[in-house]
Symmetry: C2
Subunit: 282 residues, 2 copies
């Protein structure tokens, strides 16, 4: 809310209230914090899956190296049914590293028990956002849990080969009339492979756009492969402009799925490219 107010004040000061011409990125501002206050523009994060082959310590070290401070926590770094002591210990490691866990996921949910576990886990970890994939038959129950807990769910699209949510439209169509705490984690790589017009999707689904997985792919087709941001087919200038136009309030989490045994150079190149685009789009 604070960010909206700031944006309005900035626009008003420039005589542009009502227009969408002011970039939310300033050259000198940090890119890393998810907190919404006056000094903090579009935040960057990491999607935990990036670190699938690394333990917590090595994953944290990589995040520190690239100076990214927001994380969507994946269960291999903190299992879903961990006891309180384990959760406390892992969260303390993040706190020491100045890393904010802003979401948990991606969590796949095929049973009511799995939905219960996911919401209980989010609550214990202390986040209000689950990035998840509930089956269609669990959407009613998931909605009920959102209402009960005030925890949001961002349903993740997973590309043309996915049975449930190949693109963001298959998510949006199923949640648009539901509780407003149900939304979308737009995975731009999978969406691109599924033929999605990313700018159009951002515009159309803006009210339910809770999270982003930022990446690049080599082709806008099912067999498109993961690539360093800037080496693939996604137009990041247009993407950032689209996010700017809808005043996106979430985190831009980079998910790097190439070279997963040695991802740091690709993470760094991707992060650099995305920051470079953000610094230059007006």
């Amino acid at each position: 809310m604070e960010q909206s107010r700031r944006s309005f004040i900035q626009k008003a000061a420039l005589g542009l209230a009502g227009a969408a011409a002011i970039p939310f990125i300033s050259k000198s501002a940090p890119f890393n914090s998810a907190a919404a206050d006056d000094a903090k523009p579009l935040p960057i994060g990491m999607a935990g899956y990036t670190f699938a082959r690394f333990d917590l310590e090595k994953s944290i070290a990589m995040m520190k190296r690239v100076a990214v401070q927001n994380l969507s926590l994946k269960d291999f770094h903190l299992p879903i049914n961990s006891n309180d002591g384990k959760i406390k210990s892992v969260m303390a490691q993040f706190a020491t590293a100045n890393i904010k866990v802003y979401a948990v996921g991606v969590i796949y949910m095929k049973t009511k028990q799995a939905v219960d576990d996911a919401f209980a886990y989010a609550k214990k970890v202390g986040v209000d956002l689950i990035v998840g994939v509930p089956g269609y038959d669990l959407l009613d129950y998931t909605e009920q849990k959102c209402k009960e807990t005030d925890i949001r769910i961002a349903i993740h699209n997973h590309g043309p080969e996915d049975q449930l949510y190949p693109g963001p439209q298959q998510v949006y169509d199923r949640i648009k009339t539901r509780d407003q705490r149900m939304g979308l984690c737009l995975d731009i790589g999978h969406a691109k492979r599924a033929g999605t017009d990313l700018q159009k999707a951002i515009k159309e689904y803006k009210d339910r756009l809770f999270d982003l997985h930022i990446k690049d792919v080599t082709a806008a087709a099912q067999d498109g492969k993961a690539a360093e941001i800037g080496r693939g087919v996604i137009d990041f200038k247009a993407l950032v402009k689209a996010l700017e136009r809808v005043d996106y309030k979430g985190v831009c989490s980079i998910e790097f799925e190439k070279d997963m045994s040695d991802p740091l150079p690709g993470i760094a190149e991707s992060l650099g490219y995305f920051k470079g685009v953000m610094s230059s789009v007006t």
Copy 2:
């Protein structure tokens, strides 16, 4: 020359001939080749000093990882007085890796013999550009060598602590009336530390701007430290625009001088950022 013609044709096609409003970067074009033909915009390279702590094989592997194909060769990878066999062998390694050595240097020259050696080395390596630092008393002799060999020299500025060339002005003032094969390798980090207005320097010295060392620094002051591009104080959007305006024809060589024992993540982040800016500046 080919690039000038293309630029003119593009501008003419858009009804903008004479204006400087067309970016020379296109989203889809490669950033890596130094050759000037219609499909190739502003090329990116590496300044060899980045790899000071690595042998040739490891340096080449890092360049391949970040897909950079232009190199300013430093003498620790090929000593200046190498015999023909050694030169042939090293150049074959670059050719196999699809890396183009477009310059040699930085080479410091304190004697006529050193100037002779540098020009002989450039000729044997097969480049027409030396990035070098000749003493003031050797500028006449260096000019004579440029004329004799048709090899250019780009004199490198080295920051406020440097006795000879702290900023680009100290270079330019000493070569501006000399042979047109004498010019400048603008090291933007050292220049920034020396208080240089980079956009102004690019504009004023454009006719002699042969090479660039691209980097970032933490402060526009003598004690500014090397940083990943985008994390420091240099305005890369303005820099790229300035290069565009003067239709810069050289290579943008990234020189990364932080974490020199483990530079790859910083090289990758820097490269990504610069590419991201180039893709977005219009």
